[in-house]
């Protein structure tokens, strides 16, 4: 392009446009000044001197410009006549001269002639195009025309209005048409051919010139400009500041809220009077909106002007006080603070009236900025609260009106009485208020008029004055906002989260960041940067950037552009004002500002704003910090309990025993029922169920779950797979079947002591051998059960009487007396009649006694008899142990362990606790158990007798210990074996040991077995003791002490002691003992001391 372009520009219409384009900042100072003047004028309307002055200046410009153009025109012409070679430099010169001559004005001119930097490239192209096609065409059209036609002043359409370019464009005409001018033109100027050729050549040159040169040329041309332009931008600002020569600004007091009206009135007056004889002497008037309530500002030359201007305008008080604004502060007055712009779709709160505090969505804002039309979720009662019997005056309307009045008086505003917000329902309205209802549009079925208000799509549309609205810190909760989303016809939620987020952003003050929060900048220069907050000061958060280029740096960011950042899987807690407050959960999805998390407690997904979240510690937290926690069982009234299913901030949700849920206040709870770990219930099959068992409802909804609470016959279950009620449900105990009992409960029946079965190494050894409990000893020969009349003690036939017809090892076929039917039942469940006492005993016992009896242990048998009863209770408990009993100690053991109850006790007791025993013995089979027991204590003395008994027993038994005394001989052997073999065992069981041995298979012992058992039993008591009250320490000592110790032992001891003396015979044992003791002391530091041990023994 180059010169061609230049040329074109000179003549082109674009240049003109540029010239008159008021907007670009790169216009010269003057232009800028002119512009700003114009702007001011737009506002002021005043006809102050200044203004007058300025237009004149402007005119001066224009003149200048015109001159300039003319000059340029001539230049151009001149140039044209010159060769191409000079063209460029001439142009440069041109500019130079222009710059000098016209000063800043010329700069404008130049700026106009040539293009802005910004447009440079575009223009370049344009120019090029023009160079190729545009101009030449124009000229080609024009020139020939001029050549052949005589039309003087025909104006090209395109050039219409291009007054500015007159100079250039007119030139050819003038030059060519006006003979006078011809002389000024270079030779042959009028010959078009030449120009054509010139153009063609230019074009060629332009094409040939390589791009680099072009670029350089352009840079030369425009590069300089930019500098000037930049300068031009800065200068005017300074110059624009008000000076002493400028009119002053006065602040005038007025009525609050009327500022804008006054200004409008004033403006109107200025307009009216402008151009009249007495124009308004003020230049401008304005108000400062919210920041300076009660003042308007007027710009005028003299204070007196203000009084004249404000004469007769309402609500303004120029007489009271007028404050002159210092020149320095003037610019501040005009500083624009971005006003809280209400945008349709945004949210506000209503300050007063029926809807006070309600959230409303802006439907429309009126242009005057005073009113806004809001969408509100109406609070209507559709006349439900009306008194039907109230006198209806004038067809009800007046009555209605009166009523409304009265209601208002009572306080419709009272939040307690106002109806809840619900979408408008024409159906409801029709019920009672058909006469007040009117459909507004036939095609829009959702547009109603009701009681003077408009309802569209269920929302109330109502105009409010903006001053009655809260526009800041609205803080809509998701819950509130979702009410506005129900509008969509297809039921889809069209929640405009961005509008909501924008509203929320306005109330940043309550957005609290704490050091340590992970945050992300989503707005502003540092957008996308994320990091950890290290400090928070007011609205500024200092962030340690953790990734990206700024990594490792600390940057400060305003709260406004921040949001908290979470990752999927983060464990977070809801802290904000949402209704989910205090929920804890893991983030499952994140979408912009909203985070969805899976609540730990309810296993439900909830969606909240990220600002309402905070990282929670990684460990689970039970929700709710109040007195009641989820899953608590609470007493609602004397007859009702409920399980807390949800803890809100102020209320609890409970599921009561009847299966209904309700929300209650904590104050409605009379007390919390502590979880009773040992509560027991039976399921429909009669098996025992406890808390933490898994049960399934039979029938009904087949609910399944883990038992949380047992309350009377109700079970509260928890099932994490159920969503309703946080997985809690209530069922009747009689409707459930056990699915799994916790820990496969077998051994312990509510026994809190250590599980002796597990604790007894001897038993464990048995376990190793493969049989957990010792099998009942085989009896040979005819089963004694045959033909016996028995009762069935368990199972579906429980309680029936029958005769045993046939038996196997474990089962018996019993012909029932009642049904005439033969059934097969386990022998264990049969109750036999004891031949001697007539009491009901179980099979093992039954069989066993006999055997012994046979043994000819006469005396002992007697004892046995005595014993049996004592035991029976135990057995009756249904303890399989029985068999063991026969077998030997183990049983005793087992019995003790499993039955755990007093009976066990008694069992053991037999020996140590002998009391019972004795009791029984003495009383001869006295049935009493516990009592016996108690008696026992007293009876300790009795013991002796007993002891004797036991001694007798010794032979049989366990008495080994005693044994020493009794059949010592035989015993001992048994003993020794035990001792040796079960060396370890002893310690604890010392006294028991003997018992053990038998079990361990000291066969010899067995022969006596039964009795032995007893003994051992007795001896073992210690074991028992453990069970009951794991004070074992005492016992062991006993053991060591050689049972004597019993004495040493705590409470029980006494009894022991009683026995101790007798038996204890311990001595025999001792040896065994000692042996062991010697062997093993290393393992355990035994405080006890053999010394003591021995002494006791000897002592005893």
């Amino acid at each position: 392009m180059s010169s061609a372009a230049l040329l074109d520009q000179d003549f082109g219409s674009e240049s003109e446009d540029d010239n008159f384009n008021p907007a670009p900042a790169e216009d010269s100072d003057n232009d800028a000044a002119g512009d700003s003047d114009e702007e001011v004028n737009v506002r002021t309307n005043g006809n102050g001197a200044e203004q007058r002055r300025r237009p004149s200046e402007q005119q001066a410009h224009d003149d200048d410009e015109d001159d300039d153009n003319d000059a340029e025109g001539s230049f151009a012409n001149g140039r044209q006549s010159n060769g191409h070679g000079t063209r460029v430099s001439a142009d440069e010169e041109d500019e130079g001269t222009k710059g000098n001559g016209a000063g800043r004005l010329n700069a404008t001119e130049n700026g106009g002639d040539d293009e802005d930097e910004d447009e440079e490239e575009e223009e370049e192209e344009e120019d090029e195009e023009e160079a190729i096609s545009g101009r030449p065409r124009k000229r080609a059209r024009r020139d020939p025309r001029n050549q052949f036609l005589d039309v003087e002043a025909e104006v090209d359409e395109e050039d219409e209005g291009d007054e500015e370019d007159e100079g250039d464009q007119a030139d050819p005409f003038i030059a060519e048409t006006h003979p006078d001018d011809v002389a000024d033109l270079p030779d042959g100027a009028e010959t078009d051919d030449r120009r054509h050729r010139e153009l063609d050549r230019q074009r060629e040159r332009a094409q040939q010139m390589d791009a680099e040169k072009q670029a350089q040329l352009l840079r030369e041309k425009y590069g300089r400009r930019t500098a000037t332009n930049a300068d031009a931008v800065t200068v005017p600002k300074r110059l624009l500041l008000p000076s002493v020569d400028d009119p002053s600004i006065w602040g005038v007091k007025c009525k609050q809220g009327k500022e804008r009206e006054i200004v409008f009135a004033l403006t109107k007056r200025i307009e009216e009077r402008a151009g009249t004889k007495n124009p308004m002497p003020v230049i401008s008037a304005f108000e400062r909106g919210g920041t300076m309530i009660g003042y308007i500002y007027i710009e005028a030359r003299r204070q007196a002007d203000i009084h004249t201007a404000l004469e007769g305008i309402m609500n303004v008080y120029p007489r009271t006080s007028i404050v002159m604004v210092p020149i320095k502060e003037m610019p501040d007055l005009l500083r624009v603070t971005k006003s809280e712009s209400l945008v349709p779709g945004g949210y506000v709160r209503i300050k007063r009236g029926k809807y006070a505090g309600d959230l409303a969505q802006i439907d429309e804002v009126e242009t005057n900025g005073l009113m806004a039309s809001l969408r509100i979720v109406p609070r209507l009662d559709y006349g439900q609260a009306e008194d039907n019997n109230a006198p209806m005056v004038d067809g009800g309307i007046r009555g209605e009106a009166q009523k409304r009045k009265r209601q208002n008086a009572v306080g419709l505003n009272n939040p307690a009485t106002r109806p809840p917000p619900r979408l408008f329902s024409d159906v409801e309205a029709k019920k009672k208020h058909l006469k007040f209802l009117q459909q507004m549009s036939t095609f829009d079925k959702k547009h109603w008029q009701y009681m003077g208000d408009t309802y569209i799509s269920g929302f109330l549309i109502k105009d409010f004055r903006i001053q009655h609205l809260t526009t800041e810190n609205v803080n809509p909760t998701l819950e509130e906002v979702t009410r506005f989303t129900a509008g969509a016809e297809d039921g889809t939620e069209n929640l405009d989260l961005s509008a909501l987020a924008a509203t929320l952003k306005k109330g940043t003050s309550n957005e609290n960041y704490l050091p340590g929060d992970m945050v992300e900048v989503y707005e502003g220069e540092q957008q996308g940067v994320s990091g950890k907050a290290v400090a928070v000061r007011g609205d500024i958060v200092t962030i340690a950037v953790i990734d990206g280029e700024l990594r490792g740096q600390n940057i400060e960011v305003p709260v406004k552009g921040l949001r908290k950042r979470f990752k999927e899987g983060d464990h977070v807690k809801v802290i904000g004002g949402s209704r989910y407050r205090d929920e804890v959960g893991m983030v499952v999805s994140i979408k912009n500002d909203t985070v969805t998390l899976l609540s730990d407690l309810s296993m439900q997904e909830i969606t909240v704003f990220s600002k309402d979240l905070r990282e929670a510690s990684d460990t689970g937290v039970a929700g709710g910090l109040g007195r009641y926690d989820i899953h608590d069982l609470v007493q609602l009234d004397p007859a009702t309990v409920g399980c807390v299913t949800k803890v809100d901030r102020e209320s609890l949700r409970v599921l009561d025993q009847n299966g209904s849920t309700r929300s209650i206040m904590p104050s409605q709870i009379s007390n919390k029922i502590e979880k009773r770990r040992h509560a027991v219930a039976t399921d429909r099959n009669g098996s025992e169920i406890r808390t933490d068992d898994t049960v399934r409802e039979i029938g009904g909804e087949s609910k399944q779950g883990v038992i949380l609470h047992i309350y009377r016959s109700f079970l509260f279950l928890h099932n994490r797979e159920q969503t309703e009620n946080s997985g809690i449900s209530v069922v009747r105990a009689s409707n459930v079947a056990t699915v799994a009992a916790k820990g496969g409960r077998v051994a312990h029946g509510g026994n809190t002591g250590p599980d002796l079965n597990k604790m007894n190494p001897a038993l464990m050894r048995n376990g190793v051998n493969g049989n957990g409990a010792m099998a009942p000893p085989k009896t040979f020969g005819r089963d004694r059960a045959l033909d016996q009349t028995v009762t069935i003690r368990k199972g579906p036939y429980k309680g029936l009487l029958g005769i045993v017809k046939d038996t196997t090892d474990l089962e018996a076929r019993v012909e029932l007396h009642t049904k005439g039917k033969t059934i097969t039942v386990p022998k264990d469940t049969l109750g036999f009649k004891d031949p001697l006492t007539g009491q009901s005993i179980d099979y093992t016992r039954f069989a066993g006694t006999r055997g012994r009896g046979g043994g000819g242990r006469g005396g002992y048998a007697g004892n046995m008899g005595g014993a049996t009863p004592g035991r029976e209770p135990q057995w009756q408990g249904g303890r399989t142990p029985v068999p063991m009993a026969t077998g030997g100690r183990t049983p005793a053991w087992g019995a003790g362990g499993s039955s755990a109850r007093t009976p066990a006790w008694s069992a053991n007791a037999s020996t140590a606790r002998t009391p019972m025993w004795r009791q029984d013995a003495v009383s001869s089979n006295g049935g009493g158990r516990t009592p016996a027991y108690n008696a026992g204590a007293d009876g300790s003395r009795t013991v002796n007798p007993y002891a004797d008994g036991s001694r007798t027993v010794n032979p049989y038994g366990g008495s080994t210990s005693y044994g020493g005394a009794a059949g010592g001989g035989s015993r001992t052997p048994a003993w020794n074996p035990t001792a040796t073999s079960s060396s370890y065992t002893h310690d604890p069981f010392s006294s028991r040991t003997p018992a053990h041995e038998p079990s361990s298979g000291r066969t010899p012992a067995p022969s006596y077995p039964t009795p032995q058992d007893l003994r051992p039993y007795d001896a073992p008591t210690p074991g028992k003791d453990f069970t009951t009250a794991p004070t074992p320490a005492a016992h062991p000592s006993n053991g060591y002490a050689g049972s004597t110790p019993a004495a040493i032992g705590g409470a029980p001891t006494p009894k022991f002691s009683g026995d101790a003396p007798t038996p204890f015979s311990g001595q025999p044992e001792t040896p065994g003992w000692r042996g062991e003791a010697d062997d093993e002391p290393s393992d355990v530091t035994f405080p006890i001391q053999q010394g003591r041990f021995l002494s006791t023994i000897f002592g005893s």
């Binding site: 899976l598 296993m603 689970g620 190494p761 060396s983 370890y984 604890p988």
Partner: protein, 171 residues
């Protein structure tokens, strides 16, 4: 991920067990107490090197007669990590997502973390997530899951997972 982890445990032993085989008991007790439990951080899978375990001297606790042993042992533990990919068996499905068990670790895969083409189909029996193709997720399905987060409580853990990535989902 599995680790060999050295740990320590205090075991109290009832006097019943004092004897020549006390070590055996302690060992037994250790296994019983520890194997298969969760510390809240990891699961103890298996106690190792039972022969080289280091038992302290027993000390009788005053007042109760039980003896305390401190045992140093080494165990194979499993600790689930965020981002770890694991195989799981679906234990139940509902509208909100899938519950699956990664060994001992219950895991939830939210519907947000299921590819959008796999949809909840409540009408199928049993209800399932399916893409109407070969991917059907119902109880018992084997899944490959990426753990997105874990939560530890006292003695238990919980995780959420995702199958919304390549190579995750049904096996």
């Amino acid at each position: 991920m599995y680790f060999l982890h050295d740990m320590e445990r205090t075991i109290t032993l009832h006097p019943s067990f004092f004897g020549p085989r006390v070590k055996e008991y302690i060992r037994g007790r250790l296994m019983e107490d520890v194997e298969g439990t969760c510390t809240g951080q990891f699961y103890i899978i298996c106690v190792m090197d039972t022969d080289t375990q280091d038992f302290s001297e027993g000390r009788v606790v005053p007042g109760s007669a039980v003896a305390e042993y401190t045992v140093h042992y080494r165990a194979v533990v499993w600790r689930p990590f965020k981002g770890e990919t694991v195989d799981a068996i679906v234990s139940s499905v509902n509208r909100e997502g899938i519950f699956a068990d990664v060994g001992p670790l219950p895991t939830f895969v939210s519907k947000h973390m299921i590819p959008s083409d796999i949809k909840w189909d409540p009408n199928a029996t049993p209800p399932q997530f399916t893409d109407n193709g070969d991917q059907v997720i119902e109880k018992g399905t084997h899944l490959r899951i990426k753990i997105m987060g874990t939560r530890s409580d006292v003695g238990s853990m919980f995780a959420i997972g995702s199958i919304k990535e390549d190579f995750l989902g049904t096996l």
